[in-house]
């Protein structure tokens, strides 16, 4: 990693971009578990075990779905009957909850997840054109994953970082005062070959 920073320093030579590059690297230690590996293979026993572990909590369904997503990166439709059985709910109930909340992914995400704030404070600070830039840069629209599985782009509506708008999250790491240049510098740290 360190060699890469030095390289960045030389090539980019711009203070802020350097700070952003460093920041992402610093994040490796900090990030909350991010599902880096997108895979359509997943372990049914694991899902059942999660549901078993949490089933006695009052209102257990939300914590169960949250944990499944944290572990797998998404919530496959085939989880529904497993979770329903353990929690003694109907499949319709589980499906209803799964489909209600924006957070729950029903398709596997890409190796990197980019979230871009689209709400008012970020709009006021150039968030709309930043979002356009990011879409172009990633070659991918909101709510989609690139065909090569490298990036998923998701919209969010306020990250509580409005005093540092516009805000973006890259693999769990929050960034503020993002410009197109800083975004590009940040994703150049990720091991992906974008065109």
């Amino acid at each position: 990693m360190t060699a890469k920073f030095v390289w960045m320093t030389l090539v980019l030579g711009r203070e802020q971009d350097i700070q952003f590059g460093l920041l992402l690297a610093a994040s490796q230690k900090w990030t909350h578990r991010v599902p880096w590996m997108s895979t359509t293979r997943w372990d049914k026993a694991k899902v059942a075990a999660i549901a078993q572990e949490l089933k006695d909590k009052p209102g257990a369904l939300m914590p169960v779905l949250r944990r499944v997503q944290d572990e797998l990166g998404w919530v496959p439709a085939e989880c529904v009957p497993i979770v329903a059985e353990v929690l003694n709910l109907s499949r319709a109930e589980v499906h209803g909850v799964l489909s209600f909340y924006h957070d729950f992914r029903r398709d596997p995400p890409g190796r990197n997840i980019i979230k871009v704030c689209r709400a008012e404070s970020c709009q006021a600070m150039g968030g709309v054109s930043l979002a356009e830039h990011i879409k172009r840069r990633l070659g991918c629209d909101f709510g989609h994953t690139r065909g090569d599985g490298s990036f998923t782009l998701e919209p969010v509506y306020c990250l509580g970082n409005c005093a540092c708008s516009p805000a973006v999250v890259i693999n769990g790491q929050l960034l503020g005062r993002v410009t197109p240049e800083r975004f590009d510098a940040a994703i150049s740290e990720l091991d992906e070959n974008l065109l």
Binding site: L22, G59, A124, A163
Partner: protein, 518 residues
């Protein structure tokens, strides 16, 4: 001698590189053989200065910011560890005018203490409210909150004491306290700053609420966009349990209060209290009909006090110093202080805690310094996505529940978003409808379908030829009337506010003559 250096771990400061700065300071100190001990705090809320680094001298903390990693060798050269002068020097932290002129009652510790340290909390006056509460009867605690005039800071502004009294007077074998930490409004971050910067304050407020109402279990419903807050809250809860401030036998008094954090899942509507209860019960976040109010039949049908994070965080001081003390601040029926969150296109964004009654203009110009872009200010949205857009000419209004309502606006959670002249208000109005469509729980037709229809009509107005505009406008007004009248909750009911205020004050953006907004 070891020098203590404070660097925020607040997620906003981290989003600007505070972690990198912290590590670079450690490395540089090691290289130079200087002894430093780093303390990671919350943020003082002066975000344009973040990452802001403070150094402890014998009698004061001096600040430097905004610090970039590349500044660090020069800071050492300037002997910043002894308060040396440097381009980034800001002087005494608590003398920075933006901070000094505030009246921080609720935010008194944020940015100062280590949020992970219970001893730090206690040595800075923490848990005195709980101590006093344990010596009072439940009725007396409730009375202090009633007297204080504290109104809910989540948006609706309902008197907190009255809500508590209802729950106290409802008998049940089980009652709950729920902290609304969904903070969905764009332009707001006060809840986050408390949870990341002074989490014991929220825990203390909830514990007092529990003792006052007879509740024994509590939940903090935290939005999933706040992973750092989850971490801090969980650590604080563990520390409070270990020290006997939470659990089966609070400080040996035999009272019980158990607390758990639950994560939301990215649904704005779950900030609405009854949708939140549904979500906590493991269901879709569908808004419930009221009555019954949650204070009587809430979570799992039991009496439940549901309050915003800032509301609960205001309680410890009220109980410690008495309701009359808190009531001294503020104007009219808006008592106490409000943490105003200034964001958007503004030079000095941040958190400003002031008594009610301060004007929008004072906040935006005296504190905020005008727009960040330097271009003329054109509009401000006050109170989140359901709040009104005001033009520059209306900035002399005081921040006060009744005064803003009289102008067709609302205080909401205290967020102010500033826009410069590049904003197009027809686009903002359309976005308000889009957001409503996206986040509607689907129970009411005017909200679910009307919002999508509203987007289409606004598009039509903008492109319509002059002769056709009038009929489209009529349609939009009718639609907004239907949404206001036919919606169960404020999402559908108040979306017309940003839409109609945009139309009223900025008709040109809709392709209409300047005076036609009506």
């Amino acid at each position: 001698m070891t020098v203590r250096v404070y660097i925020p771990r607040d997620s906003g400061a981290r989003s600007l590189g505070a972690d990198t700065v912290a590590r670079a300071i450690e490395l540089e100190a090691k290289k130079r053989g200087e002894q430093v001990s780093l303390v990671r705090t919350g943020s003082r809320g002066l975000y344009w200065l973040e990452p802001m680094v403070e150094v402890e001298l014998s009698d004061r903390r001096v600040a430097y910011g905004p610090v970039n990693v590349t500044d660090i060798p020069a800071l050492f050269d300037a002997d910043f560890l002894n308060g040396g002068n440097h381009r980034l020097a800001l002087g005494r932290a608590d003398e920075i005018p933006y901070l000094k002129s505030q009246e921080r009652l609720t935010f008194s510790r944020v940015g100062i203490v280590d949020p992970y340290s219970l001893p730090d909390y206690i040595s800075h006056g923490g848990y005195r409210g709980l101590e006093r509460a344990l010596a009072l009867s439940p009725e007396q605690i409730v009375e202090e909150v009633v007297v204080s005039g504290l109104r809910g800071r989540g948006g609706a502004g309902f008197p907190a004491g009255i809500k508590w009294r209802t729950t106290l007077q409802t008998s049940a074998s089980q009652k709950y306290i729920v902290a609304n930490a969904d903070e969905g409004d764009s332009g707001t971050f006060a809840d986050r700053m408390i949870m990341e910067g002074d989490p014991f304050l929220l825990i203390e407020g909830m514990t007092i609420a529990a003792i006052a109402t007879g509740a024994t279990e509590g939940f903090i419903y935290l939005r999933s966009e706040y992973p750092d807050a989850l971490h801090t809250l969980q650590a604080a809860i563990n520390a409070a349990v270990s020290a006997g401030y939470l659990g089966d036998n609070i400080l040996g008094t035999g009272r019980r209060f158990l607390l758990e954090v639950r994560m939301g899942a990215g649904a704005y509507i779950c900030g609405e209290e009854t949708a939140m209860l549904e979500s906590l019960e493991g269901k879709r976040g569908m808004v419930r009909f009221k009555p019954p109010v949650p204070a009587i039949a809430g979570l799992f049908g039991r009496p439940t006090v549901i309050n915003n994070v800032v509301t609960l965080a205001s309680v410890p001081l009220i109980v410690e110093r008495g309701g009359a003390f808190y009531k001294e601040y503020g104007v009219g029926r808006s008592r106490g202080t409000i943490p105003i969150q200034l964001a958007g296109n503004v030079k000095r964004p941040g958190l400003i805690e002031k008594p009610f009654g301060i004007t929008l203009r004072e906040i935006i110009y005296d504190y905020g310094g005008g727009t960040a872009s330097g271009r003329p200010l054109r509009a401000v949205q006050v109170g989140g996505p359901l709040g009104a857009y005001f033009p520059e000419s209306l900035l002399d209004q005081p921040i006060d529940y009744e005064a803003l309502a009289a102008q067709g606006g609302l205080v909401g959670h205290g967020g102010i978003v500033v826009f410069d002249e590049s904003v197009n208000l027809a686009r903002q109005a359309r976005y308000a409808m889009e957001f409503c469509a996206l986040e509607s729980c689907g129970k009411c037709t005017p909200c679910r379908i009307g919002s999508t229809r509203g987007m289409e009509i606004i598009d039509e107005i903008v492109v319509a030829r002059d002769g056709e505009k009038a009929s489209r406008l009529e349609l939009l007004r009718d639609l907004c009337d239907t949404m206001s009248a036919g919606s169960l909750c404020a999402l559908g009911g108040l979306t017309p506010l940003p839409v109609m205020s945009a139309l009223r004050h900025f008709p040109q953006d809709f392709g209409l003559p300047p005076s036609s907004g009506g």
